[in-house]
């Protein structure tokens, strides 16, 4: 039998399957992938219809619904399906039960992708006259079948493993190190899977979900107004023909960028700063002239006539990848973080004392984003903190002290477990004294937890 982790890793490296054709609403993901596997099993051979079905999943909640979907799909192929649960030796149990086949299925979410993968072993279980002297022998060789399909939110929810008792809420690890100071981060689908965008004083980078640099652009700074504290806003979303938009403080307009090989090329420009984007929504704003701060202006569309709502200035705005109660958050220069609903109106308590490196991310997959932020203290080292404002226990995680300053953040699913992760930029000094930024992955993916 193949080990499940190795199998899932191999599947992760494979190209993604095609999306279902447009038209009728797609069937539930479990139904679709079960049907695919049943087709791979094929019709009963020699009228041998008795099939024992054994389903094993890493996430316990996934096993029963998947078993139901598979039983239904296999029945449509003509099998008489007998679910098998609990037996230590599944094959022996199938034989003892007089079944013709044992279909042993292992299932799990594909790391790094929003997909579910099924791998089945079709094992003959009937007794053969010619094998009387070797009761354990199989009449025909077993064969391997597999199927993979896009995982809908329900499947992602079921496929998410439960955190073991005593396990920490999250883990923080360095995804990659970038030379220089990262000013802004964005996480999202840039067209070919999870991607990270990082804006720096002299460049914008597009990275893969695992932190490898894929493309870059160095802007022409001619005509830019000087800004003492360099700053930028950055978003990955639908910007009309391209999925990445960036504006540096002092630059006249936002650049909309498309990837061409290892370069990011300007395909359009916008007269508003892209503050964040997620779940089909985009938020635009503007820098206060001559500064790296944002005006109190949050607009769902580019509106050159829009005016700030107040004199308040903002450090940044974040979006939850899948919306929810707290779809957006705006951090003021008074260090108060205002949680906003999908309509950009206040939707929760104002959190005092958030740092400028912050993100909204539904780490635990409960449908409500947590606030992942730094620790804005004047003397202590920085720390990653995870706040769950909707619960009675706001601080659910605090990291060890970090050697550097958390100055940028973004949320999105980078590990492919279906729940958000947060990415924070920790700015520090490299061995040569030059500024470097460690991109820290903050995740509750159980595969990442110790």
């Amino acid at each position: 039998m193949l080990a499940l982790p190795a199998l899932l890793a191999a599947l992760a490296a494979a190209p993604p399957i095609a999306a279902p054709p447009a038209g009728a609403p797609p069937p539930p993901a479990l139904t679709a992938v079960a049907a695919d596997l049943a087709r791979a099993v094929g019709a009963p051979l020699d009228d041998r219809r008795g099939l024992a079905l054994r389903v094993e999943t890493r996430a316990p909640a996934l096993a029963a619904p998947l078993e139901t979907a598979l039983a239904d799909a296999l029945a449509r192929q003509g099998y008489a399906v007998a679910p098998q649960r609990g037996a230590a030796d599944a094959e022996a149990a199938a034989r003892a039960g007089g079944q013709d086949w044992l279909l042993r299925v292992q299932a799990g979410l594909v790391p790094g992708r929003r997909e579910i993968a099924l791998v089945g072993e079709v094992i003959p279980a009937w007794e053969s006259f010619f094998l009387q002297r070797r009761p354990g022998a199989r009449a025909v060789p077993p064969r391997l079948v597999q199927a993979r399909g896009a995982a809908d939110p329900e499947t992602l929810l079921l496929g998410r493993e439960e955190r073991p008792a005593g396990a920490p809420f999250a883990r923080v690890r360095t995804l990659t190190r970038l030379p220089g100071r990262v000013l802004a981060l964005a996480v999202g689908d840039a067209g070919d899977g999870p991607a990270i965008a990082a804006a720096m004083p002299g460049a914008v980078l597009l990275l893969s979900g695992d932190g490898a640099v894929r493309a870059r652009r160095e802007p022409d700074r001619a005509g830019w107004a000087p800004v003492r504290d360099p700053a930028a806003t950055l978003a990955i979303g639908d910007f009309g023909g391209a999925r990445l938009a960036v504006q540096w403080a002092g630059a006249p307009r936002t650049e909309v960028l498309a990837r061409r090989g290892d370069r990011l090329e300007v395909v359009a420009s916008l007269p508003a700063a892209p503050l964040c984007a997620a779940d089909g929504a985009r938020v635009f704003g503007q820098f206060v002239a001559g500064t790296g701060l944002l005006a109190d202006l949050l607009a769902p569309v580019v509106d050159p006539a829009a005016r700030p709502r107040s004199e308040r200035t903002l450090y940044g705005v974040a979006a939850a990848a899948r919306g929810g109660t707290y779809a957006f958050a705006a951090l003021g220069t008074d260090l108060n973080l205002v949680l906003l609903g999908p309509d950009l109106e206040p939707a929760g308590p104002v959190l005092a004392g958030a740092g400028v490196g912050f993100a909204l991310a539904d780490l635990d997959g409960d449908g409500t984003a947590e606030v992942v932020t730094s620790s804005p203290t004047a003397t202590a080292p920085d720390r990653v903190r995870v706040l769950a404002p909707a619960t009675g226990r706001p601080l659910v995680f605090e990291s060890d002290p970090l050697d550097g300053l958390l100055l940028a953040g973004a949320g999105g699913d980078l590990t492919g477990d279906g729940a958000d992760d947060a990415l924070l930029g920790l700015v520090g000094r490299g061995p040569d004294g030059a500024p470097v930024t460690d991109l820290l992955l903050v995740t509750s993916d159980l595969r990442e937890l110790p």
Partner: protein, 500 residues
């Protein structure tokens, strides 16, 4: 604690470090336990209030020499070059650090594009050329002429024998060529000194702030949105004088954000010392003392300078043994005391020696009184006379003293330039030229003995150099003391914490 400044300067083309600079950088880098808010970027707005031992009075870069005046000059004016966090030269108004040409005799200075003074007028290469000319004022004092003295034709221009400064050629709106009289590859270090700042014809500066008012109480400034690095973080800046008690009271009461004094303010949230670059020299007036001068010189030379600094300097101090302050040279850390002078009768024909000292520079009064005692012990009666700013300079220029204690705030970190600055302040332009010529191009190891010989030749008695301590209130952020002791006031900002 991470002390990474969140504002990164423009990339610099890695110029050579100044000889002896390492020690300064070490001092500046290792002793900065100042607030650096974790996870917080600078905020704009508000007023930063700074207290000095005395209110600043002079805003003209060509004339300012006191530490307080230099602080104000840096707030109002911009220099062609700056120092980065590692103590290296970095671009300021110039788009890059000029590389030496013609064997270290010529430098091509190219301005950034789009520069403007705070009054909106464009900054041109001719303004930089005018700054050099201003330093060589033919009439009145020219305390910062050391920057332009090495330029070809400076002597003839200053003496009125030439109508223009021959070594400065304006090539275009943004470029000029500076040719020196002799090779001095380290000359660009002078361009980071506040006296090298560029001033418009109307008197406007290009620094982070614009002067709004200056009187006996201090200076009031507003943000300059046209500064080449962008507007400063604070909207307003006030710089005033305050005695130690008043400063401490104001800082603890939240009425000040920063106090720069020799001594730390008790109860301040954070303090950090600046490099000791305010060097004090005893100048002996041979013309007035005649044969008694040698006796006075030996008494002063026998002083334990380390002890002097320890006892009479309230701030960080270091003994000085040559005309180049010890921190600029990577030489021996402590200056040896000369053999004690034997007891002897008083100076013939000199009833009471006049010991001139600056009244408004910290520690000078205490030092003068100590020297009075030492001279008396050696049989020389002295009367300390303390004079403020202009009067002190005038008496110094007129040689109206027997012994003068001359404090020099050294602002260039290359030994040749520091030596020239000290020699100009104590012995005049001829001595400055000689010092710079002799020290030019020398590495630190070779500069130290040469500086020692020059000190004897110029008949200076180096005493000690001191720094100040920056005491900050809890809200102040962005404070960084450069290797030359300067603070970019435009980088200061206030941490705002308000309840939801």
């Amino acid at each position: 604690m991470p002390t990474l400044p969140v504002n990164e300067p423009e990339p610099a083309p890695s110029p050579e470090r100044s000889p002896g600079l390492a020690i300064l950088v070490l001092v500046a880098a290792l002793t900065l336990p100042l607030p650096a808010a974790a996870g917080v970027r600078p905020a704009y707005g508000g007023e930063v209030r700074v207290a000095l031992p005395a209110a600043p009075r002079i805003t003209d870069p060509a004339l300012a020499t006191d530490p307080g005046d230099l602080l104000l000059v840096r707030a109002i004016h911009a220099t062609p070059l700056e120092l980065d966090a590692d103590g290296r030269l970095s671009p300021g108004l110039l788009e890059e650090v000029p590389a030496p040409e013609a064997g270290g005799r010529a430098f091509r200075l190219r301005l950034r594009a789009g520069l403007r003074f705070s009054d909106g007028t464009p900054i041109a290469a001719s303004d930089v050329a005018a700054a050099f000319v201003r330093l060589l004022a033919r009439e009145g004092p020219a305390p910062n002429a050391w920057i332009a003295l090495p330029v070809l034709g400076a002597e003839a221009f200053q003496a009125g024998r030439a109508a223009t400064l021959a070594g400065v050629q304006v090539l275009s709106d943004r470029e000029l060529l500076v040719t020196l009289a002799s090779a001095m590859p380290e000359w660009p270090w002078a361009l980071a000194a506040p006296a090298a700042a560029v001033v418009s014809r109307g008197g406007a500066g290009a620094g982070p702030f614009v002067l709004q008012g200056l009187d006996g109480a201090g200076a009031r400034l507003a943000a300059n949105g046209l500064h080449w690095r962008g507007r400063p973080f604070a909207d307003r800046l006030t710089v005033k004088g305050a005695d130690p008690r008043a400063a401490a009271r104001a800082l603890s009461g939240g009425d000040l954000e920063l106090v720069l004094r020799p001594e730390a303010v008790p109860g301040a949230t954070a303090t950090a010392p600046s490099p000791p670059l305010l060097a004090t020299y005893a100048v002996v007036n041979w013309r007035r003392l005649g044969s008694g001068a040698e006796r006075v010189r030996r008494v002063l030379g026998a002083l334990d300078r380390a002890e002097l600094g320890k006892l009479y300097a309230r701030g960080p101090s270091a003994p000085t043994s040559t005309l180049v302050p010890q921190p600029v040279l990577a030489g021996p850390a402590a200056a040896p005391a000369s053999p004690s002078a034997p007891g002897a009768p008083g100076i013939p024909g000199q009833a009471r020696l006049v010991l001139l000292a600056a009244a408004d520079v910290p520690d000078q009064r205490a030092l003068a009184e100590r020297l009075q005692v030492k001279l008396f012990d050696a049989g020389v009666r002295a009367a300390a006379e303390l004079e403020g700013g202009g009067r002190f300079a005038a008496r110094l220029a007129a040689e109206d003293f027997d012994v003068a204690l001359v404090p020099v705030q050294v602002t260039a970190l290359a030994p040749a330039l520091a030596g020239g600055q000290v020699a100009l302040a104590t012995r005049g332009p001829g001595a400055a030229r000689r010092a710079m010529t002799e020290l030019a191009g020398l590495p630190a190891a070779a500069a130290a003995p040469r500086a020692e010989r020059l000190t004897r030749t110029l008949d200076l008695v180096p005493l000690f150099s001191t720094g100040v301590r920056a005491s900050a209130g809890p809200a102040l952020q962005g404070l960084r003391i450069r290797a030359d002791g300067a603070i970019d006031l435009g980088d200061l900002w206030l941490l705002r914490r308000e309840g939801p």
